[in-house]
Amino acid sequence: MALDVRLATETLSAPSELERFLSGRTGDGAVVTFTGLARGVGKDGSTIESLTLDWYPGMTERSMVDIAEAAAARFPVSDLAVVHRCGDIVPGETIVFVAAAAPHRRVAFEAADYLMDRLKTEAAFWKRETGPAGTRWIEPVDEDRAALARWKDETP
């Protein structure tokens, strides 16, 4: 069982991460990945020129590891990967890549889904979008909180 958790200050390549995650794998039938991309248009239709993720060196990595360890404890996965960008990100670039491998596909789907729901609300990042009208801070939306709440009903 391996947890590969990394903070990426430079470009994050989802295909390269998938290649690394699949390398040498013959025991597991199922690998699910999630790739989060920076959008060029905000929810209100405005242009986004860049997204900035501020982080707290040490604490941010720890928040990612905590989430990965919780997923590993909760689901019978073989391996997990969580790679998250920080710093300045332009539209189309990858913000986050998550992968879960398991013998059964349902477990792989659920583990990746859980990782994302927790990362989107609990990972120690501060995000702001910069566009023609200036910069604005982003906080978890109700949709994110509702997604996270789905996992609370069940015992970990």
């Binding site: 501020d54 707290y56 998250h84 609300t121 120690a124 501060w126 978890p140």
Partner: protein, 82 residues
């Protein structure tokens, strides 16, 4: 002098950090927050908000937690998530 770190909206207003002269026996996180906030109106506006949290040695803690001068103290707006 102990360095107090800031992140998120707090850092936007107050910069990445400030220095504070803490008593040798330490102070609670709430007291430290009030000490920094008392410096000027900008600091007060940035820190005296319900959505500002504090951490001690990189662990989020409550207002009553005692912080010693040799510990890593930070204040920040709530996480945006990833």
């Amino acid at each position: 002098m102990t360095r107090i770190l800031f992140f998120g909206r707090v850092a936007e207003r107050l910069g990445a950090n400030c220095r504070l002269d803490l008593p040798a026996g330490g102070a609670t996180m709430g007291e430290i927050r009030n000490l920094v906030a008392a410096r000027d109106e900008v600091a007060a506006a940035a820190l005296l908000r319900v959505d500002v949290r504090g951490s001690l040695d990189q662990v989020v803690v409550g207002e009553d937690t005692l912080a010693r001068p040799d510990q890593e103290i930070a204040f920040f707006s709530i996480f945006s998530g990833g």
